[in-house]
Each structure stands twice: as C-alpha cells, then as structure tokens.
C-alpha cells in the first residue's frame, strides 16, 4: 500500500495506470449495471476521466 502511494506521489506509471484502469472498469460497470440509474448518470464522466488519465499516465516513467 505504501509503495502504491509513494508511486502516485512520485508520478510513476504503474500505480497511476492501475488507478486509471480501476476508473475505466468502474465507469463501464456503472454504465451497464441494472441496479441504479444514478450510477448510470455518472458513468460516462468516470470512464472519460479514466481514459484521459490512462493516455496521459502511459507517458510517465516506469
């Protein structure tokens, strides 16, 4: 856990990519889940933030 936080603070690719991946997966789940329309409403912004973040952080150093 400490490694992940340290990686995030030092702008390392691994932890940031993991965070972006979690956001994209969460966004897609929110988009297609059948439980709450509230989650569906915020799904696109979560996916968009995750995708843009993924594109940016894939240029961070290892």
């Amino acid at each position: 856990m400490r490694n992940i936080v340290s990686g995030l603070l030092r702008l390392r690719r691994g932890p940031w990519e993991m965070l972006a991946t979690i956001l994209i997966a969460l966004g897609v789940f929110m988009l297609m889940q059948p439980f709450a329309i509230g989650l569906y409403s915020y799904s696109f912004i979560v996916t968009l933030v995750g995708t843009v973040m993924f594109i940016i952080v894939s240029h961070f150093p290892e």
């Binding site: 990519e17 972006a20 991946t21 994209i24 997966a25 966004g27 897609v28 988009l31 297609m32 889940q33 059948p34 329309i37 569906y40 409403s41 915020y42 799904s43 696109f44 996916t47 968009l48 995750g50 995708t51 993924f54 594109i55």
Partner: protein, 315 residues
C-alpha cells in the same frame, strides 16, 4: 543500345525537377511517401471524429440543414445519461456481450483443443466448423429467423426432443425473456469458429518438446493443460476476446435481421438505438453525443485490455 524504362524516365525528367529531387534528404523523401497515407487517415478518421465531437454539443439535425445550429453545451450528454431507455439498451448490450464472449471462448477453445488432435478427417471437420463464419450476417439472421419459427422451425423441435416441451408453446424471437438468448445463440453459432481459429493458431504454436519434457516428468494430462497449454494459448485467447468484444459492442446487422430490436426494446443494442436516433429520428447532435460516449467506453476498455495483453505476452 536500348535503354531501360527507368533510365528513359530519368532522361525525360526536366533538369530543374531532377536537380530538386537530387537535393532532397532521405527524411524528406520518406515524408513524401508517407504524407498521402497520413492525409487519408486525417480525412477519413480524425476529421470525422473531431466533427462528431463538435456536433455533440449542438442541436444540429441533418434533415434540416437550413435551420440555425445552436450550441447546447452538455445538454445532449445530460439527456442521454438520464434516459431510462438508453440505460436499458446498455443493459441489453452488456447481457449480449458477456454471454456471447463467454460461450464463444469456451466452445471455441474446446473445439480448437479437439481439432488440434491428429485424427482422420481433421481438415474436413475444420472446414465444416468454419463454414458459418463465411456467411453474411444478413443471411445468418434470415435463416435463424426460420429456424426459430414456432410452427416450422427446427430449433423448437430440437428443444422438444431434449426437454419434452411443446414446440408450439414458445417463440424464441417473440418472447421477451427468450429473444435476448435467441440473438446470443445465433451470434455464438456464427462467430465461435473465429475464436476457434485464433485458439488453434495458439495451440499449434506450442512446441512439442515442452509436452515431451512434461511427459518425462510424468505430468498428468490435466496438469499439462493447466501449466502448458492454457498459459501459452492465453495471449491468443485474450486477442480473440478483444476482437469479439469490440465487434459485439458494435453488433448491428445480425440482430436487426433476426429480431429488429424487439420484442419491445429487449434486443435493442446500443448500435441499433444509435442508428434509430441518427437516421430515423434525425437527432444528429444527440446521436453524435451517443456515439462519442460509446467511443470513449470502447477506447477505454481496449486500452486496459491491450495493457493486460502485453503483460501476458511478457511473461
């Protein structure tokens, strides 16, 4: 002495142009060759994408080109993301995606595993299995419509043979609960051979020496499968899932031919809904926002998937 065509072309080139070409660096010549492709990509892919994003913030309707186009900001996105019908469409797409990919991967890998064994008529069976993939989706949709007919369709009689249910008592494409499964069965029938072919390529790339070494170590067939076959075929399996996932997210023709999105909205997938918004209701701005949403979703999913695929390949 006869001159070669190249020499004749060189001789025919005016002195001014020839001097200019001789003065070009390798880098410039490379750019001259690549430029038409880059221009085409920009014109065919990038420009429409940027134009769609721009339209998604307007109330433009393509059937009323003379109307004033108003900038509506995020209104189209807000409407899509609060529309229960679109939400239902997303759920139908998720149901279709999850089940088609699961079934196609399981059956496709099992078939590849069997076909990979040496037996008589191996090539003939491969050809027979691959046959559905060669057909047009419209043709497949059409004949599955006949197969699903409650009175004359073969499918209901097979179900009767297996379960004893009366063939006239249910309709695969007319029943709200069965129609989503009808499109899953038809798509699985058509595209499992594609997954099988990719898996077969993966299985055939595994060297026999690894299995021979495992035999020497007295590894059981089960152990060989879990420690050699599956890990080495995994990148190919993941590639098949990526291809089928993207394709099925865009699924249109087969489902339109089979159910037309009905009954009700139960088989209305996102691409069908998008087409209705864009070319039946002519809400171009709204449908552009819809398309941008789907693009971001597929792009995000494909990005994390490609990353996972590269990690598996590195192992």
């Amino acid at each position: 002495m006869s001159l070669s065509p190249l020499t004749r072309v060189a001789a025919a080139t005016p002195d001014g142009i020839a001097r200019k070409i001789r003065g070009l660096s390798d880098r410039t010549i490379a750019w001259i060759f690549v430029a038409p492709t880059i221009f085409l990509l920009l014109a065919v892919n990038i420009f429409p994408l940027i134009w769609t994003i721009r339209l998604s913030f307007t109330n433009f309707r393509v059937n009323r080109p003379n109307n004033a186009v108003e900038w509506v900001g995020l209104e189209n996105y807000r409407r899509i993301l609060s529309d229960p019908t679109v939400w239902q469409t997303m759920q139908a797409t998720a149901h279709f995606l999850i089940w088609t990919i699961t079934l196609q991967v399981l059956i496709g890998f099992a078939l590849a595993f069997l076909i990979n064994k040496k037996f008589r008529g191996n090539d003939m069976w491969t050809t027979i299995i691959v046959f559905p993939m060669m057909l047009s989706p419209a043709v497949v949709g059409n004949f599955w419509t006949f197969l699903y007919q409650p009175q004359i369709g073969l499918f209901n009689y097979v179900v009767e043979f297996l379960t004893g249910a009366d063939p006239a008592s249910f309709s695969m494409i007319g029943d709200v609960n069965l129609a989503p499964w009808a499109i899953i069965i038809a798509d699985t029938w058509m595209w499992t051979p594609f997954v099988m072919l990719i898996c077969l390529a993966g299985l055939r790339s595994i060297p026999d020496s690894i299995y021979e070494a495992a035999e020497c170590d007295r590894a059981s067939a089960w152990r060989q499968f879990w420690t050699i076959t599956l890990p080495m075929a995994l990148p190919f399996l993941m590639l098949a899932v990526l291809f089928r996932g993207i394709e099925n997210f865009k699924m249109f023709d087969l489902v339109v031919q089979l159910t037309g999105g009905g009954p009700g909205n139960t088989t209305t997938l996102t691409s069908i809904d998008l087409k209705r918004e864009a070319f039946e209701k002519w809400r171009t701005g709204y449908s552009s926002a819809y398309a941008v949403m789907l693009f971001v979703t597929v792009f995000g999913l494909a990005s994390i998937y490609v990353k996972a695929l590269n990690k598996v390949k590195e192992r």
